[in-house]
Symmetry: C2
Amino acid sequence: MPQAPLGERLALLTDLYQLTMAACYFDQGMNEEATFSLFIRKYPKNRSYFVAAGLAEVLEYLSTLHFSEDDLAYLESTGLFRTPFLDFLKTLRFSGEVHALPEGSIFFKDEPILEVSAPVIEAQLVETFIINAVNIQTLIASKAARVVQAARGRPLVDFSLRRTQGSDAGLKVARASYLVGFAGTSNVLAGKVYGIPIFGTMAHSYITSFPDEIEAFRVFSKNFPGIATLLIDTYDNIVGARKAARVAKEMEGRGERLRSVRLDSGDIAAISREVRHILDQEGLNYVGILASGGFDEDKITEVLAQGGLIDSFAVGTKMGVAADAPYFDIAYKMVKYAGHPVMKLSTGKVTLVDKKQIWRNFDDAGLMNGDIISLREETLSGATPLLTQVMQNGTPLGPLPTLRESREYFRRQFALLPEAYKALKDPGLYPVRLSRGLAEQEARVEKELYQREMGEA
Amino acid sequence: MPQAPLGERLALLTDLYQLTMAACYFDQGMNEEATFSLFIRKYPKNRSYFVAAGLAEVLEYLSTLHFSEDDLAYLESTGLFRTPFLDFLKTLRFSGEVHALPEGSIFFKDEPILEVSAPVIEAQLVETFIINAVNIQTLIASKAARVVQAARGRPLVDFSLRRTQGSDAGLKVARASYLVGFAGTSNVLAGKVYGIPIFGTMAHSYITSFPDEIEAFRVFSKNFPGIATLLIDTYDNIVGARKAARVAKEMEGRGERLRSVRLDSGDIAAISREVRHILDQEGLNYVGILASGGFDEDKITEVLAQGGLIDSFAVGTKMGVAADAPYFDIAYKMVKYAGHPVMKLSTGKVTLVDKKQIWRNFDDAGLMNGDIISLREETLSGATPLLTQVMQNGTPLGPLPTLRESREYFRRQFALLPEAYKALKDPGLYPVRLSRGLAEQEARVEKELYQREMGEA
């Protein structure tokens, strides 16, 4: 049974005020072009960069957005909206343009991840979905990049699905972690939907349902000789390791090779050394050790520092909910309406007005050494502009890069970010400044607004 | 366009190992009845109870679970599975039984939220979805209950959608917060899907798109006189309050009443007193003050302690991701297979064997004063059993309570939980013990397993 397009399924996944404001604009005949900027206001603790992700879903939503008969019937049932406005919603489509950072880009606070320009009713209505879709993937990509860094080249697999915040997050975590270098995921649906490699081991319940542990190992290795990873901690890691070694020798007799054993509890660093010794004594130096159980960038760093002999990590909950920073202060703010730059002045939340561009500078070694946020119309010589137009008249401008291409793009960009900004604790603050054009525009608008709004009433 | 049933759409939303283990069981002709328990292993900081939520989705999934042609084609494409197993999956349906806590129940660590008994392949395959579905709603219901408590009767509205971890979480947060007493949500789709009251105010962008603030207020109040809540902090709270008061007087002239004003930034307690004074001076004592911006149970407590004059709170991100505890140590563990109680012995993660029941005791005043976890077959006189059967042979046993009924159920149960366990900081530890039958069973199985598994290899 085919699903409705994303933009129809989720047209009502919006805040009520988007619709009441739209009704006001409609009533006033106000539907001039508005531009909104999506950006993150501040860094969570120990963070100094973000990884842009989620653009494909935004474009799919925008290009298929429309209210179904069912949606309109629900809106009518609320008694809040008049018929002419509901008729207007019936034919509403997104007709605007989008400028965005490519998927997998490194970016910094205050920098627009994307800017939407469209008739104000459309540009406003899509706020909630756009923030939600970009937030979850950017949040997880930014977290998972830290885990990749901590693992220093060891393969990582996303095991978070059971504890992600809902099913949509489960898919998005698999995608975002793969984007920044995870080898794959345990999430089978993500494998199907995104073409991500899928991996798995076995559960304790599998072991306990057999009369004894070694029989459970034997059955699995016979059924899946190419991918067998034996979970050895159900009763005791060391006893389990000896049984796994025995099964590995049996596999050798059949011309097969055990892929790895999995540790899931206890003092992982110490146990891994003992298990390595047991395996090596049997000539099983090719059998890898996979560790799981509460891993994130900190625990990986710690286990490796303690001399843990781990070949790969399964990373679950703490990455899957970005446990140390489970949300970003991400906002989608109007910066221009009907040709006039606008801003709000609310305490501590001043925004950057007008349509913008981000320019990146590189040093002689090719490393990133500072960004400048400018008005979009400005050109800064010697720097590279980052935002590109990806949608016009509601239609995507050609296909986006594939997930694998974006993964490669991230890898290359991340290599250009100096180590100081990648530190897992107390990273340096990457320099981002405003162009003279933007700074002057900002000062001018702020002054005008104070004069206009504060004198009144 | 109708959606496929949940159990078909999400059949592949599972960990790969569920399918590889299933293939092993299938290969061995092992498909005896297994029982799994879903429970939470420990309390996050400052928590001492949980609120059960998500059962309806679990039952919908179980009763519609099947693999589509498309799913099977994907599984075949992985090259991991043989044809007989894929043919078996084609006709697989969930045929088991479920015992569960009613939606909105208060429960404690180690207590089963639900127990599934089914042929092991089925019971194992559904693990990932069941954990995911119960985790998100239980997580948020348990968090939102704290927010409700902090607000001491003031209405609360869920404004979290834009920053929930994905779209599914957005829906579940709206539902779970309503379950524990929120008045409603800004999430329009949740309003449609769950019949939850929807609320909204206006955005800063709405204000900034008008030539001046008061005109934006006037247009909104004319279009939505019954529900108008004017956002007054776009430029300055105090100036905004005076403008809102002027608009409220204009509304009075039309026989209408402004519902409220909204504060979204700055020193909320101090500003609310000033704004209250401005409104009262104009005889607008009926106009409420709604506060938003980073609220959770702690900030609500603080603002009220500082004498904030707030009539209602909009609660967003921190509740919507359960920011202080964004995951639970929730697990779904096999406790019985083929008639034999089973457990794993992994360090620090010993589980409670066998099919179980929870019994609750109440004191003379009717307040909860201790639970006992027993074998399911035991009867403990004087105590109330909490788990009831909700599914048999894969079919739900009658309709579940409606969301409103569950909301009322939670309200009544929560009133019976003594204050010591509800404290927002350093709550007491509610007494939960094992029945003699369960404790003896536990000891016996543990001893047998040590003897059987540790001697070998």
